[in-house]
Subunit: 412 residues, 2 copies
């Protein structure tokens, strides 16, 4: 099997990285199309690729306007341009429609984050079962390859989990996914994604898989402090996250948790805004009678996340802390990657948070293209062989390290 | 001389205290009229007075609607109801028009805060000379008594300064006015006055009189920590305030400063809001294209200051720390008052911040009524004899203490 010509949906920070990386491998991937509601943002990405000379061989690199909530329009675009693969990097609200269009058109589908309903905040599990997994049968019937959550987290961390279970442990008791951004954007305060999406993650309950049951906590209730390779001591907080659901279903592991690193300053600003009611999505009325959603005002005064990348310095560290048993002995290992904001910006004009999310999607696309991961059904990343993925990832710029009792060493 | 029948302008927290206290002395003051743009707020104050049975003898207690920026309307009201005294407790923006109306009608005038131009934030000195003092000649020509700044600060603290200079020191080197609210309203965050007015005081430069010169600092730049009588250790910050200007001109004192107490929590919330741009009076545009002034949104989400009084607990401590020389020896004394939020609420349904500002205005009104302070010209409080004022204040519920090398004792 071999699949060529890709359509990238979306024109945000992650889509930009994906477009750059696809362009660097257009000898394999063929035509590169970028579609978004706002065609000017697609054109800007093409301009960035030209500026960085990232198109490997002469070929198609084209922008399109499309409403990703409009299934017939998506199908028509896919058929018109003749792609065999759609890389969905649009907002979390469009997964269902893009997936339906791919099934209808019979092309491969890939995304990096779970579907969200704009009306629901911090939805209760089972997340994938509420949305994407309802299309499993349709994918299998039509032989459509659909790889869910192929970013870093979810994505690479799922592959780390699969690798740990298959190669390094006889049994695993816990997988703690640790996500630290030890970088600095130099602003008083900013969010790395759209503030509305960013704050939505942290205003409700957080769900984790503990003792084979869903467990609920409030945000910033449970804290973990750990000394990390390269980035040093960091504080993280128990958070809900997409991959907890699929890992809890696909791997026989009693505890799957996700921890996000936050500095004291971020938590302080967040807490003040939340307690004052300024993160509310419900409109308030001013003394002058104007009705306004406070969160939209906060978004208006914060820096545009896209403006942060040029000045971003420092590193990210994301990985899986795995605890279990090997050869009858207790064992602990941390599988991780380190990424550098400024290096990423020099290569693709994006910071490391977008880079780590986008590069794995292109590694997965290359594995679909060469047949390795072109499985003709819907899967999450942990259901696929991890070694080809981690090898490809290393070639693309994201290396994998392991830290255990014997020290730190590069695996891929 | 004897003056009767008073018109209260305004229907906010301080006006409410003034109305209660005037009612408690209507045997001396005669008819009590309350006027505001919103007549319902005046009626609510009359309801509160009835509920607390604070009208001493049967008599007139009447609400009126008036626009305090409309001089002819004010003159017509003064003449129609036949008052001889106007107590201006309206917003800081109406001093000039109310004063003009009093001069035109030939009745006594009194206020508790300096005039402000709504377009100017943290204006540079000389403050009184920019507004009220321009009417000094007109008051003298018509024999109109106009007492400026007859609240607590300005007001009582000016009388403390005059008392210190005339009775307790041969020469004074510095007067530091210290204003501490050690009370708690039980909310996550709230301002004690209209948030717009409250934050205006702290967003720009602060001006103080040091070494006989105007000195500028930024807000929260200079901190003072001191152990106070009753309320214990408190942190205060150098702030600009009305009375610094008049005291610097009327007393021969090289250093006059004002310090406001702030808790760490208030400063933290203020700093977050200010640094994010949420205290800005300049409109921003949301992603949806709506234009909105961020400060008005902050005001909309904060508790209504008027709603705080019933649950307010704790005490205020406001006074003058005076340093100088007496009988050839260095001397230091703190003249101060302690006020209790819950006691004030029990008496007049207002917290201590409104109480301390309103009661002195009524003490001054009683001294105008009996002729003691009916001077037929425009003056600031430090230009009047302090002892009758502090004696009257003590009768009305605000006692004066002094703390020096010999300990603490009640003076009035």
């Amino acid at each position: 099997m071999s699949k060529k010509n890709v359509l990238i949906i979306g024109a945000g920070g992650v889509a930009k990285v994906v477009a750059h990386k696809c362009a660097q491998h257009n000898d394999v991937l063929g035509e590169i199309h970028i579609a978004s509601r706002n065609i000017a943002k697609c054109e800007a990405i093409i301009g960035s690729i030209a500026r960085k000379q990232n198109l490997k061989v002469p070929g198609t690199l084209q922008a399109h306007a499309v409403d990703a909530l409009d299934v017939p329009a998506l199908v028509a675009l896919i058929q018109k341009i003749g792609v065999s693969m759609v890389l969905n990097l649009g907002s979390s609200f469009v997964n269902q429609t893009v997936l339906k269009a791919c099934i209808e058109a019979g092309v491969a589908y890939l995304d990096t984050a779970i579907h969200e309903d704009p009306e629901k905040i911090c939805e209760t599990p089972p997340w994938y079962a509420n949305y994407e997994w309802k299309h499993k049968d349709a994918c299998a019937e039509k032989g459509v390859t659909a790889i869910l959550g192929a970013g870093f987290d979810p994505g690479v961390v799922n592959a780390y989990a699969a690798l740990a279970c298959s190669e390094y442990f006889d049994s695993v008791d816990s997988i703690d996914i640790l996500d630290v951004n030890a970088g600095s954007h130099g602003k008083y305060f900013a969010t790395n994604f759209d503030p509305e999406i960013n704050f939505r993650e942290f205003t409700g309950q957080v769900w984790t898989w503990q003792n084979r049951e869903w467990t609920s906590n409030s945000m910033f209730e449970v804290k973990l402090t750990r000394d990390f390779p390269v980035v040093g001591e960091q504080s993280l907080y128990l958070t809900g996250h997409d991959e907890i659901h699929s890992l809890s279903q696909n791997l026989d592991v009693p505890n799957v948790r996700f921890w996000m690193g936050f500095g004291e300053h971020y938590i302080n600003v967040f807490t003040v805004l939340k307690n004052l009611g300024l993160l509310s999505e419900k409109p308030v009325t001013t003394a002058e009678g104007q009705s306004i959603v406070p969160l939209k005002v906060v978004k208006a005064v914060l820096p545009d996340p896209a403006s942060l990348a040029p000045a971003y310095t420092g590193k990210t560290c994301i990985g899986d802390l795995v605890k279990g048993v090997k050869d009858g002995q207790p064992k602990e290992a941390f599988f991780y990657n380190i990424c550098d904001h400024a290096e990423n910006y020099a290569e693709v004009e994006s910071q490391a948070i977008s880079y780590t999310a986008g590069v794995p999607a292109v590694a997965a696309a290359l594995l679909i293209a060469d047949g390795t991961w072109d499985v003709g059904k819907m899967v999450n990343v942990e259901e696929l062989p991890p070694k080809p993925f981690l090898t490809k990832l290393s070639e693309l710029g994201l290396t994998t390290f392991m830290q255990d009792a014997e020290g730190e060493r590069q695996l891929f």
